[in-house]
Each structure stands twice: as structure tokens, then as C-alpha cells.
Subunit: 331 residues, 2 copies
């Protein structure tokens, strides 16, 4: 099986590549070719380098996606995007990459199918940013999309396109609205959501972290490992039961900041918790107040998508996958 990943050098992309290289298979079939595409060169996975090709291209360039689709991969992961903050700061760039880029990929697939029968599986990473406040307490599967960012609008539009291209038989697509990824590896960044990861990752590494919101703030989380599980499950499952409704809210773990901190205390002790400094930031608190808190993702659950079991598990996954299995700070 030939697998192609757009956005292979991003955080989720790298995790997915690692996973595919380790298992060597997807949807019960051996991976014979792995094409990694991004605007920067993606890393070839150890032990899988000979089956891997790396292509540097920008999906916003018309014709670029067609070059790699010409290889007729059976499964395509579309994870390429500029993030929320950048799409908001640079209106034109956001639309060029997050809308035109998605459309170029869909069109490249449709046009490839005009040469000879071709209907690949397309797994698209969408976002809960397709939703916008005011929300009901729990957001159900039939709640409407009213994004409050250009990024959210671009994701919602890409979902509609993917659904229509699927209905027309050009491809077999599914869009997954990923929860906020926690614990996000790497250094703290300026994303408004960064603190959800910072307050765990930094203390686990013996460093201070800033908490800008109240402990009562509730949010919707998934570990990087759960996200990779969503993507590979979506690549393998029978999509017939989705009917014409191909965008799914993924089951996350709803947790308050206080619950996150309690989990940290159980796993890394009081000393780690003491590294969290409360520093209320009304701007960040305001942004976060407009975010969804809890979903009833029953469609995805019924289709076999599995959330993290607890925040303890989310922390243990980070320790296993990023910290070599142990916590530097003793409790």
C-alpha cells in the first residue's frame, strides 16, 4: 500500500510517520511506499528510509499537489495547514493554504481519476474551530458550524468540499475534528491554547510554567497518540456507514485545568505542581471563554474512535513518548 502524507513535517505528521514506520502497515496492509510532503523536508523515519520518499512542495501552488497525486497513493492524509493564529494574522496566506491548498489536493485527485479509475481514501485533519460561541453546555453531532476565526472557516469549507467530492465519487473522504492536542511536545509557543500543555510539559521537565486562566476552565483534549489513533482508524474503517456526513467530531477528554493539575500531582508529585505559577491574563481568559468545552461525540464513539482514558494516561503517554519513560523531577 502506498501512503501519502501532506503536512508530514508538522507535529501530528511526524507522530503519524513514526507510527506507520514502526508498524509497517495501515488498514491491515503492508506499507510498500510512504510519500512525505511538506513545505520543509520531512524526516525519513529510521528503519523505513528506503520505502520513504520526501517531497518539498507548497499545496498552495496550483499543480504542485498533482505531481505527488500522480503516484496514485491508496491512502492520503491531508494534515497541511497554517495554524489559527497565522491564518488570522495573514488573511490571504490562510485562504491560500487552508482553502486553496485543500481544493488543489481534491482537484488533483479528481483529475487523476479522469485518466483512469482512482478513488483513494482521504483523511483530513479538521478542527473544533469549526464551532463558534455561544455554545450549548455540551455540543452534539448536529450542532451547526459558525467559526469565529478564518482558520475555522477554512476548515469548515474544506469539510464541505471533501464531503461533496466524496458524494460525487471522486474520492472516499473523512474529516476528523481533532481536539486540542495535549501534551504538545516542544517548547512553549505563543498560541493562546499553549498553556494547556505548558502547565504539564514544563513541570515534568523541571521547568516553571505560567497558568493564565482560572482552574475551573474546562477544555477538550487528546494526546498525540490518540490523534494518531484517530487518523489510522479513519484510514482503515469502512466509510459507508457515514453516509453523506463525513465530518466527525473526535472524542476528546473533557477536563478542567484543576483536573489536569491533580493528574500531574498524582504522577509527578507536589514539587512539579509547585512549578505552575498563576498569572491571570484577561486577554487569554477572554479568548478561551469563546472556545468549546465539552462535546457529545457519540457518532465517532459508535464508529470505534477511542479517546484517552484519563488525564493520568495523557501524562503517562508524554512521559513514555517524549521523556524516555521517566520524569526528571522526583516527587
Amino acid at each position: 500500500m502506498h501512503v501519502l502524507i501532506f503536512g508530514a513535517a508538522g507535529m501530528i505528521g511526524r507522530k503519524l510517520v513514526q507510527h506507520l514506520a514502526q508498524t509497517g502497515e495501515l488498514a491491515g496492509q503492508a506499507i510498500t511506499a510512504l510519500s512525505l510532503v511538506d513545505v520543509v523536508p520531512a524526516e525519513r523515519p529510521v528503519g523505513f528510509a528506503e520505502k520513504t520518499s520526501v517531497e518539498v512542495l507548497d499545496i498552495a501552488d496550483p499543480g504542485a499537489a498533482a505531481r505527488v497525486i500522480a503516484g496514485r497513493p491508496e491512502v492520503i492524509f491531508h494534515l497541511a495547514a497554517v495554524v489559527s493564529g497565522e491564518a488570522e494574522a495573514d488573511f490571504e496566506k490562510g485562504y491560500r493554504i487552508n482553502l486553496d491548498g485543500s481544493r488543489h489536493i481534491l482537484e488533483a485527485i479528481r483529475r487523476e481519476g479522469m485518466k483512469a479509475a482512482y478513488r483513494p481514501r482521504l483523511v483530513f485533519s479538521s478542527s473544533i474551530a469549526v464551532f463558534g460561541a455561544p455554545f450549548p453546555e455540551v455540543i452534539g453531532d448536529e450542532f451547526f458550524n459558525t467559526p469565529l476565526t478564518s482558520y475555522g472557516a477554512q476548515k469548515a469549507i474544506s469539510e464541505l468540499l471533501l464531503t461533496d467530492y466524496s458524494r460525487r465519487g471522486f474520492l472516499d473522504g473523512i474529516a476528523l475534528r481533532l481536539p486540542t492536542i495535549c501534551i504538545r511536545p516542544g517548547r512553549p509557543n505563543k498560541a493562546a491554547s499553549g498553556f494547556f500543555s505548558n502547565i504539564l510539559r514544563e513541570p515534568l521537565a523541571g521547568r516553571e510554567a505560567v497558568l493564565p486562566v482560572a482552574p475551573e476552565v474546562r477544555h477538550w483534549h487528546a494526546s498525540p497518540r490518540a490523534a494518531v489513533g484517530f487518523l489510522t482508524h479513519a484510514a482503515a474503517m469502512d466509510l459507508k456507514s457515514l453516509g453523506a456526513r463525513r465530518a466527525l467530531t473526535m472524542p476528546g477528554l473533557a477536563a478542567t485545568v484543576a483536573e489536569q493539575i491533580e493528574a500531574l500531582r498524582r504522577i509527578a508529585g507536589e514539587k512539579a505542581v509547585r512549578l505552575i505559577r498563576r498569572e491571570p491574563d484577561p486577554v487569554i481568559a477572554g479568548i478561551v471563554a469563546g472556545w468549546p468545552r465539552t462535546f457529545d461525540a457519540r457518532r465517532a464513539l459508535a464508529l470505534g474512535f477511542r479517546p484517552d482514558a484519563s488525564f493520568d494516561e495523557i501524562i503517562r503517554i508524554h512521559i513514555a513518548d517524549e521523556l524516555g519513560g521517566s520524569v526528571p523531577v522526583p516527587s
Copy 2:
């Protein structure tokens, strides 16, 4: 006030032009210039010809919309589209006109605003085709968009774009999801929804009409006059109260075919009703079964949009506006 209409030669466009020319004003201001744009030359309204300019262009051509937006109209009606059947039959044409065309208009406005401050009112005619079965019995204002046609997808995408461009301050937009227009003037066409109008318009003119579905079939209707009322109200109202939710389902009149026929009987008598020939068509019945029946359009009602009062009124409007005030067939 300068008013521009994209799609001025279409059915609703012509009705709107007539209305604006008759009243000579919009949103309480005298209309000093009326620009009519379509792919065919729109008719200059009687008594308003000297204030009217007619432009033939295709919004799918990049740069075409910018030519007329350069006139900096204060109010823009965007009614241009290829219809549902055509967008389904010709995939590329549907996207070129209903998606790229809408985007060209939005971009032309945004770019005009980069030269000097410009933030026109944009009223866009969307459609209940943004919804797709299965439905709840009554569709509320927060029900999600899962279109089952390319036309519906294109309308839903245009709504998202208009909303994001409005949120960013490039324009002041509102999208109206129009009910099925009844009684549609002109000759019977091949649209699957045509019979809702045919079974009234044809008997009123002394001609036979075919009814392909059961009398129990319920649908969501608005007269051409009500549709024009929606558009002019949307051009005049304060949009602040809409917040970031700028797509509204318009209040239609929910009626069964049997109720339509009863209204015809009351107004034009038994002889007219006898001109309706039952000829069940399982294909049309199947298509219609997938359509929405009833909405709870409470947001639009609260904002002052007014539906037709009854099917008797819908028929009387047709008689007044299309038949010179009298019915050729005596009861």
C-alpha cells in the same frame, strides 16, 4: 444610494429590480444609481431607465466583478448562480460560478476597500439546500449544514466566506436561505420542485398540470413578493444584532400539497382544481422525500422578516402580479 445587483436578469432579480424602480428607494434612501449585472443583458425598468446601468459579465471571470465594484455601490445584492440541477450536471461549472464567482465578488469588495475605506452591505441569496436529510421534524436555527447537492455545498461555502469577510470588517454581509419560490412565474420547467408551482399557476391560466407526488407532501414556500421583501429588509436592517451568525433561514409557509390545492379551490373554484392530474412519479417523490419540510425560523422572525400569511395570499399575489388581477378560469 447606489445599488448593484448581480443576477439581475434572473427571476428574483427581475422582481427586485421592478420593486426598486417602483419605490425608488431602499433602506429609506432614494436610489440614485441602479447597476444591473448578469451574463445576459438585464431589462431596464420602465420609468427608471435613466438611473439604470446594465453590465453583461460573468462573475466566474477573475477581475470581472471588480469592474462593477469599482463604482463603490453602497448595497450589493448577490443573486447570481447556476441552479441546482445544472450545478449537479456540470460539476466544474457549478463550482466556477457558485463558489469562485461568490469569492470573486467578496475579493473585489475587499480589494476595493484597500484603496479607500469601503464596507458595503452585501445581501446574498442562499438556499435551504444547505440542509440535507435526515432531518428532525422541524429544523431549528442551530441545525447543521450537510448539503446533498453540489449546489447546496456551494451555497454553504459562500455563507461561510461571507460570514468571515464580514467578521474581518471587509463588508457587512447577510445570507438569506430562501424557501422554494411559489408561485414561480413562467412556463413549467424540469426542476424537480416545479410541480409545487405548476399545480397552481397552470390551472389559474386554464391549463392542465401534473402532480407527481402524494397530497400529504409538505414543503416550505415563499411568494416572489415575500422573497423581495426578505431581500430589501436585509438591505435595510441593522446587522449588529446578528453577531457572527450571518446566515438566516427565511420564514416560509409550510404547507402540504393538499393545502395548496384547497387554497386553489377557494380562490379559483373546483373547475381549476380539476385541471390537476395525479400522475405519481416515484423518481420525483424520492427526490422530494429528501427535502426539508418545516423550519422553525425564529431568528429571522425576531429580526422582522415576514412570511406569506397563507397559501390563499400566495395565490392572490400571483393573480395580482402576473395575471393582471383576474383569473381567466371562472369557478
